[in-house]
Amino acid sequence: MISLIVNQKPYQVEVDPNMPLLWVIRDVIGLTGTKYGCGVAQCGACTVHLNGEAVRSCVTRVSRASGQKIVTIEGLSENNNHPLQLTWQEIDVPQCGYCHSGQIMSAAVLLRENPNPTDKNIDEAMSGNICRCGTYLRIRKAIHMAAERQKTHTIL
């Protein structure tokens, strides 16, 4: 039995400790906002926060997350009103949308650690999140806008 705290809610899961955290989040707990992309930490679609860090849940064993705090896209804000989520909607960042849970979770770490990121800072934070639709320019624009928005918005 492994204990997890996902989106501030405690869970007890009966799984193999080597199971990827992604499978536990999606298939055991049932939070399907986090996506499977490559399975080898190369694309970023599966990014979640583990104690505040943007880990790749496809290669993170659930044993590493035991007793730790996990936040998925569903728990990033109370009402989908994180500055990034609001801005993502405002300028229609996604095309197919598949990678954007991971994009937003990575961007959230960037904005927490650097509230006024430059283009260079955004590239440093986001280059590991791949978008097959090529929405990179809108992602960058949205992060800049969210940085402005969060100055008057409290982030969880």
């Binding site: 290669v59 990575s106 934070a125 986001m126 590991g128």
Partner: protein
């Protein structure tokens, strides 16, 4: 008065004796200068217990050098601020950067992908609990260093992570160093076994930690 004191000194020590004493004193001071140049350490208490054989020490270091310059070691000791990847030492994909403490930046921190253990599968992220680059304020660069430069750097307390000889010897036994021989499927190991590496590493240090010539 000055002339008198010089005359007295001559009486006590004949000129020939004074020249011999000066040569001896010079030789002693040069010996200490040479040792300190080769052991710029915070703690050199163990110096008395070691056999300083420069030829054997240098010979051992040339074996050490081959390992340290192999991708398994050098890829995390780059000249720039991006880790390297692959046998050709290309910059790490994903625009990964060193960061202030060597653990990466923002959403691209080392441990976000590199787990406490290797990830199953060919060429997947290798792992270790302390996976990281050297920090920004002490980069411990291997890439591009000659044997002479690298040996001096490794022996320099202010450039080697503040390690004395005992700590350098212990460093070769750390999980992260051992990891160079266990990087997961699809990766080539350094040019000698881990156990052979530890032998030449220890020998280089215990015999004086000398640097090969330039």
């Amino acid at each position: 008065m000055k002339e008198q004191s010089e005359i007295k000194l001559h009486l006590l020590f004949p000129l020939k004796t004074m020249i011999v004493m000066a040569v001896v004193l010079l030789a002693i001071s040069m010996t200490f200068a040479f040792r300190s140049r080769n052991n710029i350490m915070g703690n050199t208490k163990n110096d008395n217990a070691i056999n300083t054989d420069s030829a054997e020490s240098v010979k051992a270091f040339m074996q050490v050098y081959k390992v340290l310059m192999s991708p398994a070691c050098m890829n995390c000791h780059p000249a720039g601020d991006a880790p390297l990847q692959g046998l050709d030492g290309h910059p790490h994909t994903m625009n990964v950067k060193r960061g202030k403490d060597g653990t990466g930046l923002y959403a691209a921190k080392c441990s976000n992908c590199h787990q406490p253990q290797n990830t199953p599968g060919s060429h997947t992220p290798p792992g270790s609990p302390d996976w990281q680059l050297p920090p920004e304020n002490m980069k411990m660069i291997f890439q591009g260093r000659t044997p002479h430069q690298l040996a001096l750097q490794l022996m320099n307390y202010n450039q080697n992570g503040h390690k004395n000889k005992e700590q350098l010897i212990a460093h070769a036994r750390t999980t992260l160093v051992k990891k160079g021989w266990d990087l997961g499927e699809g990766r080539i190991q350094p040019p000698m076994s881990y156990s052979s590496f530890v032998i030449v590493w220890d020998e280089w240090i215990k015999k004086g930690g000398y640097a090969p010539g330039q």
